[in-house]
Symmetry: C5
Subunit: 354 residues, 5 copies
């Protein structure tokens, strides 16, 4: 379940820049892969040892280092130190409860973003933090665990067609960012499908289960929003500001990413709108049903309670009750009761209850 507040307390009082991994416990070893490429050459290395990383970097190539797993603090520190990354940035990489943000440093650009998964079984969102560092001619990306989200980018690098091999490290950053944001659409579609399912349910047979589902989706939408809203500012800054690591040609592509981000955010806002409309619908439907139940009760009671009174009257044991001995007393009572019944039915008809 999406935690309302994340655990941060382990860190209170430590000096800034103290390196400590804060996130889910993980046991698998961290996995490093590396791409070195120019327009004409491509050198791909997977699962390389920490020591090798540095030896592979060449100044006239564009280098992409991808690190899966950030729970090995020493390893992360080692890589970062080689690339001259500030200790506060390393701290942020290791701390998985960052908001999406962009930080300009003298030598590099630091970008944090959330990767999201929606588990349709449990109807829960799972977030993973991705940190990216854009230097002069390299990109380093840190993921919490191995995943295939970046696979399309790897393929485009391998095939070497299109702009990706020609353009520099900033274009690579754009490509990675674009892939993550495109993935959001996939996620939103799944949530949208769930929303429509609940909507159907609400219109057909609203019950406690739809209410719980509705509430859970609302809860997740809070998390979703928190993860994505700050992205707007991040991408806008990337596109607008005169950041020296970003070439002018790439900025045009970032404008496209910005458009997508806006669309993602808009869809989330629509979800929230829909969710609150649905809750209103639910409430009104429940009131409506209550009304119907009350009508049934009232009709039955209002018809039979007076009739029961009448038959009660002639169940009394008074010695002197002339009606009891009349020839057509019994028949008369039935007549009266039928009249009462018909009157009641007409009354409810006029009130449009039946």
């Amino acid at each position: 379940m999406a935690k309302i507040a994340n655990k941060n307390s382990r860190k209170i009082g430590l000096p800034p820049g103290t390196l400590q991994y804060i996130g889910k416990e993980r046991s698998e070893p961290i996995d490093i892969s590396l791409f070195n490429y120019t327009q004409d050459h491509l050198d791909e290395r997977n699962s390389i040892a920490l020591e090798e990383v540095i030896s592979y970097c060449k100044s006239d190539f564009t280098t992409w280092i991808n690190v899966n797993g950030i729970h090995n603090v020493e390893a992360i520190e080692k890589i970062c130190t080689y690339f001259n990354i500030h200790s506060l940035t390393i701290e942020d990489i290791l701390h998985t409860d960052q908001r999406p943000k962009l930080e300009e440093n003298e030598d590099y650009l630091y970008l944090v973003i959330k990767m999201l998964e929606y588990d349709e079984q449990t109807k829960r969102l799972q977030t993973e933090q991705v940190s990216m560092i854009l230097g002069k001619n390299y990109v380093i990306s840190f993921q919490e665990r191995a995943g295939d989200t970046f696979e399309p980018v790897r393929n485009r690098l391998r095939i070497g067609k299109g702009r990706i091999r020609k353009a520099g490290a900033d274009y690579l950053l754009y490509a990675l960012l674009d892939t993550i944001i495109d993935h959001y659409f996939f996620l939103l579609e799944k949530i949208g499908d769930d929303l429509e399912e609940i909507e159907e349910e609400l219109l057909v047979s609203p019950g406690t289960r739809s209410l719980t589902n509705l509430y859970n989706l609302k809860r997740e939408s809070v998390l979703l929003r928190r993860s994505i809203w700050p992205l707007r500012e991040v991408v806008n800054k990337l596109e607008r500001d005169d950041i020296k690591q970003i070439k002018k040609e790439t900025r045009y592509f970032l404008r496209d990413v910005y458009d997508h981000t806006i669309r993602v955010i808009e869809t989330i806002e629509n979800f929230r709108d829909m969710l609150s409309s649905m809750l209103d619908l639910y409430q009104s439907t429940i009131s409506n049903r209550m009304n119907m139940i009350m009508k049934v009760l009232t009709i039955i009671s209002t018809i039979f309670i007076p009739l029961t009174f009448i038959v009660g009257v002639y169940g009394m044991n008074f010695v002197h009750m002339p009606e009891l001995e009349w020839r057509y007393g019994y028949l008369g009572v039935w007549m009266i009761m039928i009249m009462v019944f018909i009157t009641m039915i007409l009354f409810f008809r006029r009130k449009k209850w039946i």
Copy 2:
């Protein structure tokens, strides 16, 4: 039904600028028409072949190319390439889930806008994406399917009166934009009529049907808003910014379009206001009716339950019940019951229930 989230997933991981049609499946062939005009001449060609398009363009004429249907990727690409359109722009033209937006490029202006239809039978909105490219002396418009929305503009071109033939391509863009936005008013009127109908229903006899209608309109209004809000910024940019493709005289007319856009948006906001007021009204009316039902039940029960108790007492079979043998016992009981009845009635009168 307006989808809450549109399908975008087909595109994840493809490099930017990969041309792929994303929208409703369509089978009809795409249809191209062309207008070449100066103040004195007009050359109109309908359903021309793709290859002819280019041959018809003349540099000293203003040219309007209208393309109905964008599902033929190669055709769209061919035309755009001739006019030197950037691949990211072509991608946007083909992708029918754009937000309204304006993009300035070196050689041309790219504008996306939504055309809306309201189906009064199904009470559903249908959106169609219109892309427009304004170059030095040409306008290219792309519609998803054939329609007669632009017919008035065509007629004005044919007749040749007014400013339209004299002014250049930017004025033509304005004319097309103006036609689309004027069409929104027509749409809003229809929705407004439906709203008033539901309002009437709510005041007279609120039921589950009005609730569903209300909910559906609310749902559509979310879509409507999403389609039109960004337009405000688009038109404002067109009017305010110093865009080289737009002449100063035309800007005056665009100010008029901006006014209309504001009015459209305001009407949508009014609809939303009205819808939430109506929901409040609905809820209160339902509560009111419940109250009335409960009152009927309570009055009947409260009167007859004590009376039934009284007659029950004298239905007991005790051997020693002196009242049973009294001469006026039966009459006395009736007296008591009538008194109870009158007391109850007076009680309800004082409480203003009857």
Copy 3:
């Protein structure tokens, strides 16, 4: 009733600047009056013919032309053409669904504003559009129909005291604007009185009628807001911007008008606040009453249903029922029933229901 969406559809597809009256059908002839004045002279002409208007204008006088009725398109066009009014402006004058706005043109200032009437009988707002054109030394005002709102200004012109005859056309525009906005206060007072009446009703005896009234006022407040909000920006622009038609001395007076406008808007916002508080109050009061009704039902039922059961027991016809033959059986049953009754009453007392 205030229409949720105004009819605009008659105009779709016409070229801009096509002159067409859009508004309520009217049959009375349009009526033109004219004031020519300097500090020392005043020349007032009423109901003059269209042709005379122009002949009366003198360059060294300040001229105020007031036109009642704008449904005669040719007449309006003629006057405007003489004063060199742009065709888009004429179109706006004729189109009665404008938002309040201010347009600067080279030769003149164009101002649209709404005049409002509140019909206390039908509890409906009626809007009338007033267009004003401020030229170098003239003001032309267009009203939809004759009315006496401007009478105080006329009187001040006739008397000739105060600043009005000395100051130029811009001061006249200010005076007219001020009169209209002062009239809003009068309107708001009437609505405020109605609001307080409904409030009283809600606190004393909330019913369906108060709900409908509440809803209607809410509906009208949407229209009211739409008509007045944009005025804020208009008056602010008049006061702040360096508009060449407005003299510096007049700007000081416009600041006063701006203050009034803010106060009008604030009062409208208060109304909306009050309306939603009242709806909350209504809902809570209804819930409260339901509670009270339910309590009465529950008390009566809970007391008498067990008693009725007891008397039912001794109404059974078993041959072997020893109690029936006991000497004090009947008395005993009464004792038991009185005890049950008292227990119930004490139970309700403790629950604070009675």
Copy 4:
């Protein structure tokens, strides 16, 4: 009761600057007091005649003229004219429905602010308008009626310690303003106490009285907000803008006043937050109680209605009813009824109703 809309209508159509008192009718004579002071001298005069005012002003002293009562139009006009106050400013002084505002004029600064009283008996707010004029070396303050709010400032002047006698007229203005705003805290405390009282009531025994109190406080909070919000901008302007009447040293003190204003506004917003939370609490509590009432009714009815049916069966008078003659028939019926009773109790236990 705080009027929703104030009466302004008496003024429609009058030329601007027409002097007319608009406010509560008052009969007491207006009362003028005057302080002339330098660091070393203090000359205090109370209840002086209108004619004397001017004679007492000396150019090398700082002068504070306080006027209690503004319903004497001629008197106010006379004073103002002597100090060269613009007629529109005089109009504003006389008109008691101003929003707090600050107006810079060439010779003086004009400040309007609201003094508030909270009547704990009637739970109503009462507003009084205070106008202050800051000239080169004088302050004129206008109150609607006599009051002791300014007494502490008078005392500080008399004692002559601290900065007040040394600093000029701008510091005096600050001191007056500070006193009024400090008074707001006193007011907010009283309202806060009332709020907590109602809160207590709601948690213990919510009833119609708490609802009415809640509603009244909400209503007053609308007035409160209207009176104080604009103050923020006023004080900010005083502190920030380069106003020539305010010395740089005084600006430091005004920053302090600004802090207080922000705190007052924040407290009002908290009240509004609390009020709407309380209303939610009220609604939920009412629903809860309804639930409890319904439970009692349902438990009693559900237990006794079937039992009553059973005893009814054996109250039938059929000739052939074998059970009636059984030896243990009566006992058997009791057995059955006790079983039904226990079953019902267990059913309600499982449902956690009892």
Copy 5:
């Protein structure tokens, strides 16, 4: 309990800069500690006498003076006077109802911030005001009472590793600020846990207790928000503005603090979102339960009321009632009743009530 409005009234009318302690009554003596340090030396003194403070300050050391307890007005004044603190600042230090704020003065920077504790037993927030003064080479911190929040900073000073001893007074200020804000996360976690507990409760068995808890948390969240929101602006100002007391290197660390502040604020907003969702959930669940209760009542009543009527009919004592003497009369009545019973059950089945 968090007071809705704090008591400020004791201060009305006093001249500004009048020193008066406004806060909780405290009796313990105030406690002063002092750190003098350079990169190489550290001189720590605890519980020193007021007179010693000044003698310990050395110009070439960085000095941190921490004062626990501010209820001794003379002591506070003495210290402040030595450091040339403005009387308005001293007043703010003594007044514990400040909003977080930052004030730049010529010689020093004044910062107010709230320290928060959450008492899990009583579910109440407790705030403590911390004032910090940053001079050229000293920091003075004022706490309301002794606490160990600053202990980690003391330890880092004692150990002398990291940047803290090397960097100047501005870095010390940052370290203290960072410690306080990190503490907020700890607090938010506790509140988050409580929230999740209530959420659980709501989904399982919503009752009056959860409602009260919910309401209390909402109330506290208002206080929480009030204490932390203004911090955003404070920290932003510290980081952005060109404040001479803050060195450029330290600004980089303050950016980190700003990030944390944003995250704290976001979490609070999430809490508020969750709280209102929960209230909606509560309301809907209550409505649902009411529905269920009503259903039980309606089913039982609707089945047995008609049956009771039938047995009542044959309990009448008419002399001429042929059915009573029929051989199978009794059996027939049972047949009829069973049929009625089955019909009712089928009816409820079709309505999906059972």
